[in-house]
């Protein structure tokens, strides 16, 4: 997709352009929300809110940020706010519940090696502290560069680097049993 051309059409209020934007980014935005929140209904809620906010603010989109980093920034902020809210804190207190919520594959599918591995990765990510989780999701699952992550989360590059490394070390400890 030609991002610049899409941005130009979006800023003109082209409804077709907005539809293209949602189609193009739905899985990425939903993916970040699901990895962060571990609950499909909540993830859909946040993903939808991300696009609605983008829709309202499209005319003010200055274009000095890339469209995808802008969307990731909105989604990340919404996820972190949701996780910081009082009722989410109660859920966060029970890591096992959060990890279980992250596993939305049926139990039967867990017998398949791939599915089991996916479930293990998801659980391990869900167990990470939120500020490390968002960094590893954006880097290893969404493929953003360190610089883009720093821009999305408004962090120093060094902070991104150290949080990512700590997140990976945590994951290594949890996923070692899957090592060949």
């Amino acid at each position: 997709m030609q991002e610049d051309a899409l941005v130009a059409r979006l800023r003109r209020g082209d409804r077709g352009a907005f539809e293209e934007l949602v189609i193009a980014y739905q899985h990425r935005v939903f993916g970040v929300a699901l990895r962060m929140l571990g609950n499909r209904a909540e993830a859909e809620d946040i993903a939808q809110e991300t696009f609605l906010r983008a829709h309202r603010a499209l005319r003010e989109f200055r274009g000095d940020a890339r469209l995808h980093t802008w969307l990731y920034a909105i989604a990340s902020r919404l996820c972190l706010n949701r996780l910081a809210s009082a009722d989410r804190r109660l859920v966060r207190g029970d890591d096992a519940a959060l990890a279980a919520a992250a596993t939305d594959e049926p139990t039967a599918a867990a017998r398949v090696e791939r599915a089991e591995l996916d479930a293990a990765v998801r659980e391990a990510i869900a167990a990470l502290p939120e500020e490390r989780r968002i960094v590893v999701v954006l880097r290893d699952l969404e493929g953003l560069s360190y610089e883009e992550i720093a821009e999305v989360l408004e962090l120093e590059l060094g902070t991104v680097r150290s949080r990512l490394h700590r997140a990976r070390m945590d994951l290594k400890a949890k996923l070692e049993r899957f090592a060949p």
Binding site: I23, Q26, H27, A47, F51, D118, D140, L141, R161, R168
Partner: protein, 296 residues
């Protein structure tokens, strides 16, 4: 380079974000440290596991739901929604509104002392024969409606309207205007209040509300003084509202036009020794006065 320093750079090494110098240092360490080589391999495997996870897909219909939510709602739909609120919403809303209005009405009526005073402002005149004068030796009264202030002004002072500051007079007028307003709002309720008041005065022989003025009249002969007071009140176009008795003590409750207050003070001072004990700020209309009788 120590093991700790080398391991801190492993993530950046995997992501190829190290400078050439840093990379050389890390590789230099790895050639001499088998433990760090194993550690790096394990970390690379972990990153590969995470990156290899099956990508998440948004649920079916997600795009349509977002587009529907982003569509602006036309004005006529918004109006129709507001007008066609479902009954389960409308009925409690209506009930809540009724309760709110009723509650506010009660609060407005009973809210303040000033409003209560307005309700009591013109009580029904009671018969002068409500209670006969007590016989026996006169005794100093012992039931003041309000405690007398430390320095009660003497009768010779000019305490009322003419000497009151302009501000007080304005406040009095404003208060009177407000009283009139209140009375217009609920005349029936006020009338019934007056009846209750009058009944209480007769049955309990107690002044029921705070009067505008409380005075003490010391005379050698209470019966004569009382008759003189009644005559004075009649002359000033006022009225005796009630006589209250507590043991041997007597208090006369009366009302006079506010603009005759000075005449009242002057003339009552001739009947006996008059001390004004409490006095509310000057106001127009009628003044309700309690006179405690005592013997001098």
């Amino acid at each position: 380079m120590t093991c700790h320093e080398a391991r801190d750079l492993f993530s950046a090494l995997i992501d190829e974000t190290l400078t050439r110098e840093q990379r050389a240092d890390v590789y230099g360490h790895l050639t001499t440290c088998a433990e760090c080589r194993r550690e790096l391999t394990a970390l690379e495997r972990t990153v590969a596991l995470v990156r290899g996870a099956t990508p998440v897909r948004a649920p079916a219909g997600f795009v349509d739901r977002v587009l529907a939510a982003a569509r602006p709602v036309p004005w006529y739909v918004r109006v129709a929604r507001a007008a066609l609120l479902p009954w389960p919403v409308k009925v409690p809303l209506g009930a809540a509104a009724v309760v709110l209005v009723a509650g506010l009405a009660v609060l407005m009526f009973r809210g303040s002392q000033e409003q209560q005073q307005a309700a009591r402002h013109e009580p029904r005149p009671l018969s002068d024969r409500a209670a006969p004068p007590a016989s026996g030796p006169p005794v100093a009264p012992s039931m003041p409606a309000a405690p007398p202030p430390a320095s009660a002004p003497e009768v010779t002072s000019r305490p009322r309207a003419d000497s009151a500051p302009e501000a007080d007079r304005a406040a009095g007028v404003a208060s009177r205007v407000e009283e009139e307003g209140k009375r217009e709002q609920a005349p029936a309720a006020l009338e019934s209040r007056d009846k209750v008041m009058a009944k209480r005065a007769m049955t309990q022989s107690q002044p029921a509300s705070a009067p505008d003025v409380v005075a003490r009249l010391e005379t050698p002969d209470r019966d004569t003084a009382e008759r003189g007071l009644a005559a004075l009140v009649a002359r000033l176009t006022g009225e005796i509202i009630a006589r209250h008795f507590e043991g041997e003590a007597m208090t006369v409750e009366l009302a006079i036009p506010a603009d005759r207050y000075e005449d009242f003070i002057r003339e009552a001072g001739r009947i006996g020794t008059l001390r004004v004990e409490t006095e509310r700020p000057a106001q127009a209309g009628r003044l309700r006065i309690l006179v405690h009788f005592g013997t001098s």
